[in-house]
Structures are given as structure tokens and as C-alpha cells.
Amino acid sequence: MNEIPLTHILFVSTALFFIGMYGLFTRRNIITMLMSIELMLNSVNINFVAFNKYLFPDKLDGLFFSLFIITIAAAEAAVAIAIIINLYRSHQSIDVDDATEMKF
């Protein structure tokens, strides 16, 4: 258990965050962009839990932060998918390039 230093877990979460960022930059489809955001939120959760476990094992604050992040991510995904379905009804497409009415 203790053979793995904290930095290796942080390396994994950093790589996951930037993979999510790459997906957010390259994708043009709203659903896949939402998936990339989920990956980024998950990497933040890994960080919170790892810091809590390795640096402050007498407290539980990191666990609570990840619990609340997971809750808010669920609410965010539900609202986003309602918006996506509504957008599909009015535009017949969910590409961000096709929804440009409010673009300046």
C-alpha cells in the first residue's frame, strides 16, 4: 500500500484531467463534450481522496468534497441532457457549430 507515493496517484489524475481537456477542445458534439467534462471532474475527485488519505488521514474533508462533487455532477448531467434534448428538437442536430443564434 505505502510503496506507491502520493505523486504517482497525482500523475494519474493529472493525465486524466488533460485527456478530458483534449476531448473538450477537439469534440464538436455536445454529448461527447459532456463526457470530457465528466472525466475532468473525476480526476479532481481522485485528487481530493488521495490528498485526504495520504496527507490528512485523521480528517474526512476530502471525502466530503468528492461526495458533493459527485452529487453536483449528477445534477449537471441531468440538466445538460434536458437542454440537449430540447436543442435537438429545435435544431435537429446537437453540434455546437449548428447552434449559433446567440453568437455575437
Partner: protein, 180 residues
């Protein structure tokens, strides 16, 4: 090199490989399934860190909730067998460059910081401990965020129903009121 170390690197490979495929594959349904594997891998990482409660929440909420919701919305809005358009090459190059630079910079920072992991107290993550602290009203309790997040969930639920409601239903009600 013992079993725990090998398991950690296997889990890390699963998470990163599945995430990389999820953001690069051109078929949207496969992308959702790779995301599912990546999230299961993250739950396995939580099990490896012995925070079983968070791992269970991860499986229930992400794998059982969010991914199923995403797959539903794919079926409602897409032809799932169709390939998406490939992003422009210049966009791929610059995004990959930005991601690699950010990764290298952060790796460098983490490598040189030197965390002092000296505290050797046992990490107590009983569910009873978590529940007591979440609902306690003392200065280390989390009752206020708990209540606020419950209001947020209620608002999200009402908002989803209002946003996704068919506009024709509202028009029908409107017309009926006019006739009266």
C-alpha cells in the same frame, strides 16, 4: 514489486487507456462505453485506496446513473452507428500540444514539490463516521452543504422537467384557457 503496486499500475493503465479512447473514437456509442470503463477503473482505484464508500457511490451514481443517462440521450438524438466528423488536423495538433504542455508542466510541479507524508495515523472511513460528520451541526459538520445540495437536486429535477417538456403541451393548455 509486490501485488499492490502491480494492481495500481494496472488500474492506472485501464483508466488512462479507456479515457484516451473515449475522447478519440469517432463512434459516439463506443465513446460512451469507453467512458464507462474509465469510470469503473476510477471506482477500482478508490477500492485500492480503501475508501469503499466513495467507490460504491462512484459505481452507483456515475456508472449506474450518468452513463445510462448519456446512453439514453445518444439514442434519442443520434444515429448511433454513424461516425462523427473527424476534427480538423490543425485543431487536433494544437489541442494535443496544449494538453501535453499542461501535463508536462504539472508533472514537473508535482515532482519537485515534495509532499511530506509523515502522518501515519490510520485512515478511518467507516460509513458511520462519514454519516455522523455529514449530519453534525458542530463546526466540523457538513449539515449546511448537505441541505443546500438537496435544494440543488430539487431545483435540477424541476428544471429538467420544465426544459424537456414538450412545448405543444403548454400550447394546448394555453389554447384551452383561451377557449374558456
Amino acid at each position: 514489486m509486490n501485488t499492490s503496486v502491480i494492481i495500481f499500475y494496472a488500474i492506472a493503465t485501464l483508466i488512462l487507456g479507456a479515457a484516451l479512447l473515449a475522447v478519440t473514437t469517432l463512434k459516439i456509442f463506443r465513446s460512451a462505453i469507453w467512458l464507462l470503463f474509465s469510470l469503473v477503473g476510477i471506482a477500482a482505484l478508490y477500492f485500492w485506496m480503501q475508501v469503499e464508500f466513495i467507490a460504491a457511490i462512484q459505481i452507483v451514481v456515475y456508472v449506474g446513473g450518468i452513463v445510462v443517462l448519456i446512453i439514453f440521450s445518444i439514442f434519442l438524438t443520434q444515429q448511433s452507428g454513424k461516425e462523427m466528423a473527424k476534427p480538423a488536423t490543425s485543431k487536433i495538433i494544437f489541442s494535443a500540444l496544449a494538453a501535453l504542455l499542461g501535463t508536462a508542466f504539472t508533472f514537473n510541479l508535482i515532482n519537485h514539490y515534495g509532499f511530506n507524508t509523515t502522518s501515519s495515523e490510520p485512515f478511518n472511513t467507516n460509513v458511520s463516521e462519514i454519516g455522523t460528520q455529514m449530519l453534525s451541526t458542530t463546526s466540523h459538520g457538513f449539515i449546511l452543504p448537505f441541505e443546500v445540495v438537496s435544494m440543488l437536486l430539487l431545483a435540477a429535477m424541476v428544471g429538467c422537467i420544465v426544459i424537456a417538456m414538450k412545448p405543444t403541451a403548454a400550447n394546448i393548455v394555453h389554447l384551452n384557457n383561451k377557449e374558456d
